[in-house]
């Protein structure tokens, strides 16, 4: 029964789920505050942006790419939304600007990486610098603050006391991503490109278009995340998005999406995001200063990759043993 369930949702996801439950039990026993509805709401709310950015990065990692500038795309889109709100634009229209700006920036990043034939990590480090300066320039050295609460009223309201309304959009986004990845030619092409780019090209996949499209999906999702960022915080500070890339990459990798491409797990990404935000919240509650957060996340990322490599190596050894046993028999 359990084995069947594991097959259905995947061993990695079950392991993660167990880790989430275990972490919750540990923190709950250390602090009575942890399971208070307000804190549960805080964890879920703080996961909002990362859920969407992680989802987008899942597409990018699936093609064997990476993007360390996602936090900056979120920042630029947030500034656009904020300025539109300040100018008195209808909140629904302002919310729409987020994904549009994100889509445009994603298209730009994708074009530079793919047509420029630059390794994604190098290109997005360069773009990270360019986008960060853009944020500084757009903000002009001060915070964007005192934004109207119109978006908060729409997206930060609570369902059942612990879930923000923004999660309606997030669930729809994950469902749509699932359909796209598993039921459309684009999804098939995406994974094919990640698995073996040359073979995909030879079988007639428009590799370059698919790769650029992955960055566009990611950009658009960063833009939607920016809408929720504004709804949650109602200001944009200079350092916006500076830790987002590490958190998102760690979440996606924890979730079982391969950094080499060709493999994507949406449920894994969602659980990875939840685990990371829960650990950050829990460690803060038990008294670890928030400066430790990048250390914890970084260690978690390296640990996940190490265990993954160890598991793969173990599998190969076992296979090798089987082959050797057959030969001697």
């Amino acid at each position: 029964m359990l084995a069947k369930l594991a097959q259905r949702i995947g061993g990695r996801e079950l392991t993660l789920l167990a880790a989430v439950v275990a972490a919750a039990v540990v923190f709950a026993s250390l602090s009575p505050v942890f399971l208070h509805p307000n804190n549960v709401y805080a964890i879920i709310r703080n996961s909002t942006e990362l859920m969407l950015i992680g989802l987008g990065l899942t597409f990018v990692l699936a093609i064997g790419g990476i993007d360390v500038s996602v936090g900056m795309i979120l920042g630029i889109a947030a500034i656009a939304i904020g300025n539109l709100l300040l100018a008195g634009v209808d909140p629904w229209l302002a919310a729409l600007a987020g994904p549009l700006v994100g889509l445009a920036l994603g298209a730009f990043s994708g074009t530079v990486i793919v047509l420029g034939r630059i390794p994604a990590i190098v290109a997005t480090i360069g773009l990270l610098g360019v986008y960060r300066t853009t944020i500084f320039a757009l903000l002009g050295g001060s915070w964007l603050s005192g934004l109207p609460s119109s978006l908060s009223e729409i997206f930060a309201a609570r369902i059942a006391g612990v879930i923000p309304t923004s999660y309606i959009v997030i669930v729809v986004a994950y469902a749509a991503a699932f359909v796209v990845l598993r039921r459309t030619p684009f999804g098939l092409h995406l994974l094919a490109v990640g698995n073996a780019e040359e073979r995909a090209r030879l079988s007639g996949v428009a590799v370059r278009k698919v790769r650029i499209a992955a960055y566009m999906v990611s950009g658009a999702l960063c833009g939607i995340a920016a809408t929720f960022y504004i709804a949650n915080y109602r200001n944009v500070e200079m350092t916006v998005g500076s830790t987002v890339a590490l958190d998102a990459i760690a979440a996606v990798v924890l979730g079982g999406t391969s950094i080499l491409g060709g493999k994507a797990s949406l449920l894994g990404t969602a659980l990875g995001v939840l685990l990371i935000r829960m650990l950050q919240n829990g460690f803060t509650i038990v008294g670890l200063p928030s400066l430790w957060q990048p250390v914890v996340t970084g260690v978690l990322l390296l640990l996940a990759l190490t265990l993954e490599r160890a598991a793969v190596a173990g599998l190969f050894r076992r296979l090798g043993g089987l082959v050797a046993a057959r030969r001697t028999a």
Binding site: P119, R132, P289, Q293, G298, L301, L305, T306
Partner: protein, 317 residues
């Protein structure tokens, strides 16, 4: 294999033209920029980047998608741990060695992750960037640690005929040593061979993993030297001193003509590129352009140099 890109010499010439162009435009905009102390200022600010970029050069040269994103984290953490070791009672006499040893150990962590556990360099060093940089901030709460021995400060601020001591004593010998190693020793041949074609290098018996591990250790040790320069210069350990060094060192290495996929390039170009980047930053500061523009301009430079690479490829195919 990718088609050969612009030759190293052509790139160096291009770089020098760009450098001259930058100097000329600043001089035209503000003639006072070209004062005699300019060279001294640039060298003072270039020292740390030059050391870090040298390590980055070795790692990129050795191929295998080699990249060290953690250099800034290693510089910050080496500086902080050195100051903590001092307050824990390590004798002052060995002070200059401490950051180098710590840096080499941090580099060895990267080396193990990449060559033993076989995690992709970009993701392994991205992880350690946040672990090392985060530790430097977390251990200090973001505050500087003072207590650098007084006798070290002249080394960080003084100069001989306008050339800072740390450039004479650390940067010049380090570049000469690496240039010599790359040009005249078998090790150098191995670096280029494995960067050019790793499979072939393995087949002829080059111990690729050992050399790559060494490259990460060297990058760490050089980051430690950069930390030493910062300690002697500022008289204190700053937990964010290494910020943006991953971007700047990559920009210097690629501007300097090292092929991003490894196997081609040399240290002379990298040194010129370091001087150019620092001159550009100094010039921007001189004409009162806010420091926040620097990271964007360096980022744009990094992208441009890689896009320029495309032109000859297109013409050939």
């Amino acid at each position: 294999m990718m088609a050969a890109t612009t030759s190293t010499t052509a790139k160096l010439v291009l770089l020098l033209v760009l450098f001259a162009g930058i100097l000329a435009s600043f001089a035209l905009y503000e003639p006072r920029f070209l004062q005699p102390s300019l060279a001294s200022t640039v060298l003072q600010f270039a020292s740390m980047l030059a050391l870090v970029a040298l390590g980055q050069t070795l790692i990129v040269l050795a191929g295998g998608a080699g990249i060290d994103l953690s250099v800034g984290g290693m510089v910050s953490l080496s500086a902080i741990l050195t100051m903590m070791a001092m307050s824990a009672g390590v004798p002052e006499a060995v002070f200059p060695l401490v950051p180098v040893v710590i840096g080499a150990l941090l580099g060895a962590v990267n080396g193990v992750l990449v060559t033993k556990i076989r995690i992709l360099p970009l993701i392994a060093t991205l992880g350690t960037l946040f672990v090392f940089g985060g530790l430097a901030m977390a251990l200090t709460g973001g505050a500087s640690l003072s207590g650098v021995p007084q006798w070290l400060v002249p080394f960080g601020r003084g100069n001989l005929g306008g050339v800072p001591w740390h450039v004479l004593v650390l940067v010049v010998p380090a570049y000469l040593a690496v240039a010599g190693m790359l040009t005249f020793t078998p090790w150098g041949r191995w670096f280029y061979a494995m960067g050019h074609n790793e499979r072939a290098a393995r087949l002829v018996g080059i111990d690729v993993d050992r050399i790559r591990f060494l490259a990460y250790v060297l990058s760490g040790a050089l980051s430690g030297l950069a930390a030493l320069v910062s300690l002697a210069w500022f008289g204190s350990g700053r937990p964010n001193i290494g910020q943006n060094l991953e971007l700047e060192s990559l920009a210097a290495v690629l501007l300097g003509g090292v092929a991003i996929f490894g196997g081609a390039g040399g240290v002379l170009g990298v040194l010129v590129a370091v001087l150019m980047i620092v001159t550009l930053k100094t010039g921007l500061q001189f004409i009162n352009v806010s420091a926040v523009w620097q990271v964007g301009i360096v980022g744009a430079l990094l992208l441009l140099v890689l896009l320029v690479d495309l032109i000859p490829i297109r013409r050939r195919s």
